[in-house]
Symmetry: C5
Subunit: 362 residues, 5 copies
Amino acid sequence: MMKFHKAKLPTIRIPNRLRKTGMPPGTLIFTGRKKVEETHVTLVQFNAEGLIFEQHLKEKLPIAEPGVLVSWYDIRGLHNVELIQAIGDRFNIHPLVLEDVLDTQQRPKFEEHEEGIFLTIQALSFDKENLEIKMEQVAIYAGKGFVISFQEDEDDLFPAIRERIHSGRGKIKKRGADYMAYALADNLVDHYYLLLDQIENVLDELEEEVLSQPGRASKEKIHNLKIQSIMLRKMVSPLREAIGRFSKSENHIIEESTRIFLRDLYDHTIQVMDTIDTYRDVMSGLYDLYLSEISFKMNNIMRLLTIISTIFIPLTFLAGIYGMNFDHMPELHWKYGYFVLWGVMILITAALVYLFRRKNWL
Amino acid sequence: MMKFHKAKLPTIRIPNRLRKTGMPPGTLIFTGRKKVEETHVTLVQFNAEGLIFEQHLKEKLPIAEPGVLVSWYDIRGLHNVELIQAIGDRFNIHPLVLEDVLDTQQRPKFEEHEEGIFLTIQALSFDKENLEIKMEQVAIYAGKGFVISFQEDEDDLFPAIRERIHSGRGKIKKRGADYMAYALADNLVDHYYLLLDQIENVLDELEEEVLSQPGRASKEKIHNLKIQSIMLRKMVSPLREAIGRFSKSENHIIEESTRIFLRDLYDHTIQVMDTIDTYRDVMSGLYDLYLSEISFKMNNIMRLLTIISTIFIPLTFLAGIYGMNFDHMPELHWKYGYFVLWGVMILITAALVYLFRRKNWL
Amino acid sequence: MMKFHKAKLPTIRIPNRLRKTGMPPGTLIFTGRKKVEETHVTLVQFNAEGLIFEQHLKEKLPIAEPGVLVSWYDIRGLHNVELIQAIGDRFNIHPLVLEDVLDTQQRPKFEEHEEGIFLTIQALSFDKENLEIKMEQVAIYAGKGFVISFQEDEDDLFPAIRERIHSGRGKIKKRGADYMAYALADNLVDHYYLLLDQIENVLDELEEEVLSQPGRASKEKIHNLKIQSIMLRKMVSPLREAIGRFSKSENHIIEESTRIFLRDLYDHTIQVMDTIDTYRDVMSGLYDLYLSEISFKMNNIMRLLTIISTIFIPLTFLAGIYGMNFDHMPELHWKYGYFVLWGVMILITAALVYLFRRKNWL
Amino acid sequence: MMKFHKAKLPTIRIPNRLRKTGMPPGTLIFTGRKKVEETHVTLVQFNAEGLIFEQHLKEKLPIAEPGVLVSWYDIRGLHNVELIQAIGDRFNIHPLVLEDVLDTQQRPKFEEHEEGIFLTIQALSFDKENLEIKMEQVAIYAGKGFVISFQEDEDDLFPAIRERIHSGRGKIKKRGADYMAYALADNLVDHYYLLLDQIENVLDELEEEVLSQPGRASKEKIHNLKIQSIMLRKMVSPLREAIGRFSKSENHIIEESTRIFLRDLYDHTIQVMDTIDTYRDVMSGLYDLYLSEISFKMNNIMRLLTIISTIFIPLTFLAGIYGMNFDHMPELHWKYGYFVLWGVMILITAALVYLFRRKNWL
Amino acid sequence: MMKFHKAKLPTIRIPNRLRKTGMPPGTLIFTGRKKVEETHVTLVQFNAEGLIFEQHLKEKLPIAEPGVLVSWYDIRGLHNVELIQAIGDRFNIHPLVLEDVLDTQQRPKFEEHEEGIFLTIQALSFDKENLEIKMEQVAIYAGKGFVISFQEDEDDLFPAIRERIHSGRGKIKKRGADYMAYALADNLVDHYYLLLDQIENVLDELEEEVLSQPGRASKEKIHNLKIQSIMLRKMVSPLREAIGRFSKSENHIIEESTRIFLRDLYDHTIQVMDTIDTYRDVMSGLYDLYLSEISFKMNNIMRLLTIISTIFIPLTFLAGIYGMNFDHMPELHWKYGYFVLWGVMILITAALVYLFRRKNWL
């Protein structure tokens, strides 16, 4: 039997809050785990003609090159609070936004500020081994001519975007920072589909398993999936809201032509939400199926064993009868008494088996 | 016992998304399975006087004949991406619409564009053998004087429409492209009623089966139906919304006189939705009934068998008593001891049976 | 044990749709069963002074008498499509209304047309024997000075109305066609209360039955009632909506003074809806009660029988011991061995019974 | 074990409707039970200075004394239809209001009429013995300078109000009829808190009972409470709505300064509603607890008994072996065979007990 | 096994209401328990420069010092009704507000009055031993230049606030009374996160316990948590509403710059609400898990024991056969009969064990 780690309830852990209780609002404290040694900042600058600049920054933020359409600062690792503060100062970001960037357990949200828009999304991946959804918060801040993405981990979440900038495919190089922010968000939401697909595969396998050999492992898997989908729903529901506000935002940095793509993205989040709800219904159906399979199997075993007992009980009684020591038991002295009794016992057995079969119990 | 395929969760499979993750939006890629060898395009042109032109097109799209009221391009098979692109160019269809046409796993939706309206609907049919709903996406694009229907498969989904155009019955030949688009959608929704009727028949049979001989097959059938109705609901709920928007659309190509028919169509989708919800309640009632039938049967078996054991247990005990080898057991030496014991045993049995009957246990 | 017919799911059968699939909208086809030999039309004409004219019409519709306030055409039997068409032509009724009149499986609805208002309601009655709700669609069309009621069957659904017209009680003779239409609808909704009362009686009896002798019949009755109440809810929910729209309608044929009665009618439909929901909760509570009663009874039986077995098992073991044939078993040769053993057995039994009683198991 | 009457479903009985089906709306018929011999009318008249007049009226309604601020007619017993009609005529009350006064099974409602406001509330009390909520409808009609309260029974529901008028405490004597109507309604809603408190006590006792000795009585109590809370919810939900409309009413007889009290009353009905919903959740949790307690107990019994059987089964088998009559059974002839067997049996028992204990089954 | 106190349903106890039923609204009566000997009033006065005055007041309220920005009266102990009345008179607080201050079982609410805003919040803490949420109502009244907080108990709920005023960290000293009121509310809501974190820890432990050794204690813990979360939800749902109204309030004492913090606070209450709902889903999943673990374990025991019985039953029957006393039983006289029988018995046992293993029952 496979061993399963128990559901870790991963997203409802809120250690940051604890550490910050009582602090004045706006204090910058990184509340996640330090996942990378050093904070990496990659700057990608391009315009419609092509890529202008791409470099890992070490010390300080460079001055914008002339002719650059969009500068994308891709920041990985958030424990360097000074750097975050410096970026905030440079781009005039509201302190509450920086606080939200560092607080990696936020509900997804969309905010409009005077000089930019701010969006947080959870990047999701699925650990199929433990049936656990892993999430990492990505914060995106976009202003006139620049986009900053913040993430805690050093995984490259946007290779496809990078590739599109390099190859020049799609519209990404011809549009402004608003489209770039959309492209990043769209890329993250695309991964939700991947996740849903993996969950569906697990559901398919689970259904197979429940119908063929339901066991304790099946039950724990269903339980884990249930807990995970509760968490997932809790994450996607505010995301839908956030993307909805993004798509309806009247902010000056969002161009009219980007709006149709935002609506498309919004449609995707609705579809993701619908699918999660559908999966929850499927899971609940699966759990019912599991319960009734288990009970069906158990009933079958108990019924068969009880029937066996029932057949032997009268036989054993008869054997008991002729084991008695009465002085006068005529049957005992008949020559064929013993053999006749065997015949009677076989007859009784046959009659009972016939009866049980006719009643459809065997 | 019948063998059932497990529920296939057919509509939640989203392979296209996977293949397209990271692609720039608007890229035309056919994401379904190639179901036909060659893409067939049938052009039907008519006006109030009658049918003007009906032909399977091979190479290129013909120029509109003079005096044609409506041209209906009926396209089956979507793997020929070039052809779809050509049609899009010819009728000035927005690239995102074409992308939706090729993405055969869309939620039903209605969109208004500058030069036309766009509607996707799932054509449903029911595989009674496997209790599985099969769906095929139909995309309908209607502009001034033309309607294009896209489908993946080569089944003729609209023989009734074709027949009405030929025979001249109804209003179809006197109205414009908006009515033609309505007629196609109405035809598809009419099939939902057929599907619901088939599901109802299955429910009726299942109820019969659950009440007469509930078994594992019944349970799996109910499970399959439940999963299918979850999927169906997921499909019809956005359809209702889409048709609702269609019926309220202020688009210039929709004539005032068509509006009453669209409202009628909207009423139909509401009725379909209501009926699905009703069926889900019925199914859940059926499942409860199944569970209690199974448990009722099992209880009956266990009770009877336990009662039989209970009757024999004291008898066997008595037989054991007189099988003992004590030197001094006066009963053993009575002449009629053995027969008296039989009498006692029969008395005990009769008393117990009487008791159980009075307590209503037998 | 009583025999119950299975729930017939009566209202979700939609044969008409099937027969009409693919037909152009507006085609007049009667889709119900022909329940009467001949279509009866009764014309009742009255004004504030009294009844002017009441007659069963055979051939043609008479011209309105002078001084008539309201003409009520009471039509029973819908298979005579020509007659329906003639009435439609005479009173200038929209073809879609006539189609709805003939389609006897409509959701209740209210529509306003240029020259009249149209309302469909289900007349309900309860077949207590089979726990089945019977319904018959009544369509009411009211214009300036006339009301037409259409029903499929020939039962007189409105004897109370007829009696009020004859006797002159109430306001019915002093008000116009709008009040007459209200009176008919009100009369039908009054029957819903009757139905609810009958269902409540069945619920009361069922509760009694479940608490005294729960059996298979109880379960099937609860199941039937559940299915029926699902259907009932499906019927009343759109009715409430329809009456709501009726009461808020700004149509010119509805006089201001009728409005307060319409609001009263609307209150009644809300109360009916509330009561159905309450009943569904009660039913679900009853089902839980049934399940726990059954399981309680079963547990009691099993517990008692198991306890009996448990008492006899050590006794039988002891009898077995002294039935052994060892050469050296000193107890066997004691003079009072047998009687001492009986004493021991009685002691063991008493001890076990005492123990079980103390543990509250007996 | 206590004996419980079954839940009486008291409020859903609707005999009045039955008696009135088909009657023209506005007919005055008392539909309740005649609970008092004679209809009592008590008139209380006061102004800011103090009580002016308090008397049980016999024959006719007196003319208002000069200087009276509020006249409160407290009417108990509704079978005297003529009196009700006379009061209606005197104060110009709309016939439909009078009809509602006499129809004692109304949903709580608030209506505004030209010359007054009308409110019906159920006065609730709790019969703890039978776990039954008793209700009595109180109808309050308030116009310029007068309030009329109608109740079916002769219990004094408003001793606190009467006492406040006598003692002059509070604002009641300084405010008009609108405040008086509010005070009556507030007094009735205060009793809901009493009722909720009593229900909570029952819930507390039930929880204790379920955890210590769950039995059939517990189940029936929970069932009764469930049914009662379904009824209660059905009653309070429209009350909340009615009080909400009362508090927002723009009617000219409601003074601005009374509004804040009405909002307070509205807050109370919301709190009552919340508490009922909370109780329903608690009840449902209690029922789950009951079920699992029962099943826990049952499992414990069955497990223990099964374990006892399992221990004796191999022992009895061994006894059976040495009760066999084979000619050649060497063990039988060993001198200590019998005692060795006893040793073996004790060993087997010890081993099994040890095993069961280690597996935590005993 | 740990012993648990039963859930106390702590917040639904409403003794105050009982004591006040029938009292005129606005009467000041303290309805809680007297938790402190003497009412403490601490006055803290500060402005942007620093702390001006901090003192426990004994007798009378001091006159405001010149240059004070905010005066915070921190009142603990509510039984001194005269003092509360005096404060009310001094700051011109509406009598209904004072009544709400003394009524310590209020739903959280926000009210705007002419000269101030009024907010009640429950301060929550978690008694992990008894799995019980303890709550204490805090009432906050803020006017121009002053904030009054009322609490029943003498615990210092606001050490963090006090510390911030002393140290001068954050904005608290530069903002007015509105920010101070926000800071107090924010501090209380921060404790909700602590509470949720503690509940989550309990849930984690419970899941571990349910999966390793589910027992009666687990069930009672889950039941207690369920009841507590029902209560918690009942408390937080109106809080969210109250904070929402606070954040949208147009009251003149709330400055524009405070609004962004109020929205942040509102976001926090939404997150708290979401998390509670998530926990309830998790609990319900945990309960299902518990039930199926228990039933799984029970089934395993019963199955094993039944299998043991089933194996011995035919063996005992055989032993019974050869214990019979027939004169002619040839097997008894065979020399190796006894040993052959043992062989047969071992064979039967092996065959049955093999069979059960192959069927996956052992």
